[in-house]
Symmetry: C2
Subunit: 391 residues, 2 copies
């Protein structure tokens, strides 16, 4: 089987799906590795490094002709998706719940689509395959650095001949993988860190990193399925926002990391909360997306300054801005998953397998992943019968 | 005496010479404080904060008419310098050795010029007045953050389910105040840090911060006057550059901090050294200036990427990018110096005083600071006699 690494085309995407260190492991499992010329350039990985590791560097045309499985970081663009042929497979972060149309199109083309973001994340044996976690880890680190580099004062307490600088007060909202890494990084830099999450069981993790866990009276526990928080009711959300605002106003730097898969990110920092912050405060919105973010008015990829002097960074794809680290992790996630799915040198698709049931989105001409199939069933073109749900 | 804070006009300058916290101290010494409207805006200090602290917020015209002493961060622009009147005084980082013409012009106008960069820096009692140190401290912190935010991997070692990231190897060249703060900050972030300086007596300071001191065979000791390094001979410089290149090539991030007052910064990272670095390496040149920098090809305020994938950041005025911290320090330096120079509510100029001999550049219509006067004597307009030196 030929596994081929494609050069990403998304704006700002600097990651690559495989790094040279992983190639020996794939070849050891009987796989041949092709790499599109320039695929690693933006992560500072030269074609020559892949070639030395045993891969064959090819053009896009050669890749499309020869690959059995194309591996990538994100989703194929229209041109790449359209060029795939029946029987080929593609693996990446395909976001089928956000873009079910892509899954439907790939199924219609007879392409097998494998998406890393479908992985069941609470099993011990999938931890090494968990690309959402590994990329969130990198993003959380970068968010803390961005906050520090943007803030107009020091993070650490410093005592100098010219006076003492007090440490920055940093608040992390959401203590998943990204939030915990942001806490750790801000603490490394010497900031005083507080954190909040709707899942109170993360308190001990926050404290073990040197942070203070904030408990709200309004929302006591909203742990949901798969390690995620459940969506709050409107009343809960409003009470939470109002109670959080008081904490937000007392902090210098706020980093928000709350995402609920396939849904609009929850609003945690309202316009009123922003107005109560001090001039010079910085907010990094890791939930920022075209659907909205965790912070009122944040725009993905842009930095805005409010009328009262609060800088709001709509952090887009932060993992892509630390491309060597994020690509190394991602490559290991992909390699671990591939080695799990490959038998006798070929992909052995088995929808009955607990892991494959999550990651294999399309196969044999059909969308087979239950969640994506269910979503598509509610949005079939022509499904305009009375009562037909449209999300 | 009326002390007036002017709004800076230099591009990118976000600092302000006094912060509200210092105003009570100045008023306690019998001084009245005026603040130009908007002077603190870019450091997130509103006019209202100055007013609440006891200052009077004024227009530029009012300031020019009423001020006895104008305090500022940098140098006055042509317009401001031209508007000063006889008997007025101005205090800032005036760089008289780099811009002796400004000193000559201010003397001709009958303006008393006080420059913080003329301070004798090795006296214990001047440490609280040392603006070059306090600003270098802020700049060194920011340089390490910039290096970390630009580098494509982690600074700390991280062990995760997706593999272990090794710590970044960071090299600091020059271990003055900026270099030591860069070492401390990179260490806080978990990097493995090495450092080099031509003054071997800084070794213990480097080691106390957790860094490794690199000793070169080529240059054993080049400590000079006033705590600075002396200029190396051409042979010493070449041997040093060649020996450093081997160390530079083994590091991921290099931060250079070598400046010699009033002279072109020494070249530490040559074009050959850059060529031996790995793709993805980052170099932050804090010596970058219009006269050249510590790194071949660096451009102040610009980031360039070499053909072999090394990112070279020509760090301009880094202290100005952390404006609240740098302004707070600078304000304390200025206040301490002013309280030292003010007797009975007025400036008491005394060129015989050890500190004033360094900082008072012009007074009573003449350039009186010895170093600036000596420099001007060699560059008098019309001094075209044979043998006349032009630096």
């Amino acid at each position: 089987m030929k596994v081929a690494v494609v050069k990403e085309s998304a704006p700002g995407e600097r990651r690559v799906a495989l790094v040279p260190e992983m190639i020996a492991r794939l070849r050891g499992a009987g796989l041949e590795v092709l790499v599109e010329s320039g695929a690693g350039d933006r992560a500072w990985l030269a074609d020559s490094a892949y070639a030395e590791a045993g891969a064959t560097v090819v053009s896009r045309a050669e890749l499309l002709a020869d690959a059995d499985l194309i591996v990538m970081v994100g989703k194929p663009d229209r041109q790449l998706a359209g060029a795939l042929r029946p029987g080929q497979a593609i693996l990446g972060l395909l976001s089928p719940l956000a873009d079910p149309g892509l899954a439907a199109a790939l199924a219609a083309q007879g392409v097998t689509a494998i998406s890393l973001d479908g992985l069941p994340r609470t099993l011990t044996r999938t931890q090494g395959m968990d690309a959402l976690s590994s990329q969130a880890n990198v993003a959380g680190y970068k968010a803390a650095l961005l906050g520090a580099a943007t803030f107009g004062r020091f993070f650490p307490m410093l005592t100098t001949a010219a006076g003492t600088a007090r440490p920055a007060k940093v608040l992390i909202l959401g203590t998943g993988v990204a939030g915990l890494q942001a806490i750790g990084t801000a603490r490394r830099l010497g900031a005083v860190v507080s954190a909040y999450d709707v899942r109170p069981q993360t308190k001990t993790e926050v404290e073990s990193l040197g942070g203070t866990f904030i408990e709200l009276a309004s929302v006591r526990d909203a742990a949901g399925e798969g390690g995620y928080a459940r969506a709050l009711t409107d009343d809960e959300r409003q009470a939470q926002q109002a109670e959080l605002a008081g904490h937000i106003a007392r902090h210098d730097v706020v980093i928000t990391t709350a995402q609920v898969p396939g849904r609009k990110p929850p609003l945690l920092v309202t316009e009123d909360a922003l107005k109560e912050m001090s001039a010079g405060a910085v907010v990094v919105d890791m939930g920022s997306s075209p659907l909205g973010g965790n912070v009122a008015g944040s725009v993905p990829g842009e930095t805005i300054v409010t009328g009262n002097g609060v800088t709001v960074i709509g952090a887009g794809n932060l993992a892509a801005t630390v491309p060597a680290a994020s690509s190394a992790f991602l490559a290991r996630n992909i390699t671990t998953l591939l080695l799990y799915m490959v038998k006798d040198g070929a992909l052995a698709i088995d929808p009955a397998d607990e892991i494959q049931a999550g990651v294999v989105i399309t196969h044999d001409g059909a969308v087979i992943q239950p969640a994506t199939a269910a979503l598509l069933a509610t949005t079939q073109p022509g499904d305009d019968a009375p009562g037909g749900a449209t999300p």
